[in-house]
């Protein structure tokens, strides 16, 4: 425990902030979200505060199942690997975590891109493996609707095995650059992977040398059973959604058991719960900030959001009545965690309107609102109790909440010795205390 420190990841999906209607906030940016300078400034502030990573979430579609979505929701954003590649050129230490879909890309292409990002960033890349649960996504890739949940996770597991073999296919010692003899590479250390599986057939070798980190750090964020099985085998960072310290500790204990079953040690997986930090001068100012944010969501958009979560149009049911029967989560092909959340609220007797308001309000991660000291206290408690190895910071409104946090909370955490004051040398793995994976072809010799 002596060297254990809080890992700080600055998360974003909406470039205006994690609150769904953040774009309406007076301090939220406009069209500059499509340019590089906006992100360059955010990344610069994050590096100054010695944050560990920037985490870009992603969907491969616009959310437009219901009529309010296009009108009111800020559906557009830059592709994260493009953006992080650009940010790699103007940052030096911060980790670059990108979401990418294992359902709608090819292992050879994605392995190349991550390997290249790892090289140009000096070993700072991480891949948040997602399986893309939206119908809208499936329809952009030749399908009529979403792929079955278990099938997606099965494909993701095979995708990861294939990508790892590709990353290993040119051994570290393979490239000789021997100008005198004319031997560029040692053919015995360059491998065809000859993968033939249910989902992929890939010969290899990859045409990019092994990444500085061996593999990019593998991140996983789904908390369905299928997601946890994948994470326990492959993930090194888990982005979790726990609503309390108690829940966080249970989640940790569950994963520790799973890791051991997989022959891994608990410290090989860092669990980072998402939190929404709102810095304010007082508790009442924090409350006002929250109330203001909540006022920004059009009621219809909130209902349509719940409809998307449960795969059923709720707008045709009386808003003040109960939720109608919902799909079975065991066979549901969307994001099961969200379905279960709505079902739990319905079971408590909440009406459609109440659930919509609740969902619109808080999202799924706990809000930590208050003075810098109060926020630091709460984060410290989660960390000390073992409910978190660090946090995925989901700033409600950007750039304001990010700036407040880096200016006020980060130094407080540094004073307490909870987070780093300087970057350690080396790759992102080195900085986070994650092992560099052995090369499977070297190990097999």
């Amino acid at each position: 425990m002596a060297n254990r420190r809080m890992i700080m990841s600055a998360f974003f999906f909406n470039p205006q902030g994690d609150h769904r209607m953040s774009w309406r906030h007076p301090g939220a940016p406009g069209k500059e979200i499509f340019g590089l300078d906006y992100f360059r400034r955010l990344a610069g502030a994050a590096e100054e505060a010695k944050m560990d990573a920037i985490f870009l979430a992603d969907h491969v579609a616009i959310w437009d199942s219901y009529e309010s979505n296009i009108a009111h929701y800020a559906n557009t954003r830059l592709e994260p690997l493009t953006l992080l590649s650009a940010l790699a050129a103007v940052t030096s230490n911060i980790g670059l975590i990108s979401t990418a879909s294992a359902s709608y890309t090819e292992p050879y292409n994605l392995a190349r891109t991550f390997a290249s990002l790892d090289h140009i960033s000096g070993g700072r890349s991480a891949w948040n493996v997602v399986t893309s649960g939206m119908n809208e996504e499936a329809m952009n890739f030749g399908r009529d609707g979403n792929i079955e949940h278990a099938y997606r996770y099965e494909r993701a597991a095979e995708f990861l095995e294939t990508a790892k073999a590709l990353w290993d296919s040119i051994e570290e010692e393979a490239l000789l650059f021997d100008k005198r003899s004319g031997f560029f590479a040692d053919p015995a250390r360059v491998h065809r992977i000859n993968h033939v599986g249910k989902h992929f057939k890939v010969r290899g070798p990859l045409n990019v040398p092994r990444p500085p980190q061996g593999y990019p750090i593998i991140v996983q964020a789904g908390s369905s059973e299928d997601g946890k099985v994948l994470a326990a085998k492959h993930a090194e960072i888990n982005f979790s959604l726990s609503r309390s310290i108690e829940e966080g500790k249970k989640y940790r204990a569950d994963f520790d058991a799973r890791l051991i079953t997989n022959g891994r040690t608990p410290d090989s997986l860092k669990i980072l719960p998402g939190i929404l930090p709102i810095v304010a001068a007082s508790a009442s100012e924090a409350e006002e900030k929250r109330d203001f944010l909540e006022s920004l969501t059009p009621p219809r958009l909130a209902v349509d959001l719940v409809s998307s979560w449960v795969g059923k149009d709720l707008s045709s049911f009386p808003a003040d009545g109960p939720v109608p029967e919902l799909p079975d989560e065991g066979t549901f092909n969307g994001q099961r965690t969200n379905l279960i959340r709505v079902k739990a609220m319905a079971a408590q007797g909440m009406t459609i309107r109440q659930i919509a308001s609740q969902v619109a309000k808080a999202g799924t991660a706990p809000v930590m609102a208050g003075t810098p000291k109060q926020i630091a206290d709460e984060m410290e408690a989660w960390f000390i109790e073992g409910a978190a190895d660090g946090f995925n910071l989901m700033f409600p409104v950007l750039p304001g909440d990010w700036q407040d946090f880096t200016r006020d909370v980060a130094p407080e955490l540094q004073r307490r010795g909870l987070v780093q004051r300087e970057y350690a040398p080396g790759t992102l793995r080195d900085k986070l205390g994650l092992q560099r994976p052995a090369n499977m072809f070297v190990s097999a010799r």
Copy 2:
């Protein structure tokens, strides 16, 4: 003609230079080719010389059909879209041309990436559309061997139509950012494309706004009949391989006729022949430089290269004998231009060894070797005669030949008023005099 000027594109495939064995040259870089700094310096030099673009070629495989390939050929490089995204962050004016395969990617993914690159670079992206002609490539994407030539081009044409519809799917005026009313977008100006074709089914809309250039500039490089048909319809830059002014003029005339048939004007397609400039103090020094480069290729690698080009292992035939019967080019699924080139040499009675030596020597583009004045004279003649709208500069050895050219030849061309002395404002389209395409959804109203 008054405003016509030479377009200068700095091309590279091998990061050590376009000569196949450039990596063995004493001045060639080592492992720094996998880092960003090497490319940042090259791009910086190119911008200082006011070059129009950097052009990154690509394959989605290692060339390893024959045993010499891995041993002697510098098969590894960074993925170009990752690298150009990073370079977008550290350059301001230069165009960023990236090769990407229409055979082994998905329209939604690639349209997003190019749209994002266009946004972060302020409208400097261009896509060199290729169809991937190597067996090695096919085998990394689920196939046993290469896809039939015509099928690849048919897919590429449908890919382009789909990508263009995606780029248009969010109209310029669609995003309102109206914080007061809560309308983020005008739903009437955000379009599902509902593409259903032989190769793709894509619903859309894209989740990135229309690129600053409308579409990235479309580049095409194959000179097969299928390639020319595609280029005449879609391309705005053509990377050609002509061995003489005469050939270049014929090529231009052929394309002019094709463009008119497609309802386009000749000036809507810029033709850039590839040339290998070798700057030297004298003609004899230039000759020495060429001889030295030629000495770097192991003879076996040269034979194996020809074997790859013609889809037949020639190493089992007597090197000093004639070339055996070769595949018919009409049904050949590899790069037909290369097959035809070898057939022409065989028809002249050249032996396998002679053809291998010839192929290893010069590549496929003409060498322009000499003093800066001699090179400028030759380029000027091609340009004035109408055989070229500019050039794709394939420097034999990097960074040396690039540095020599930007230091010595570029200023000479500037003095003659043939190339720009300063960058014009605006996007790459603006700078090159290429029209911004109309949005098909706006036009349809």
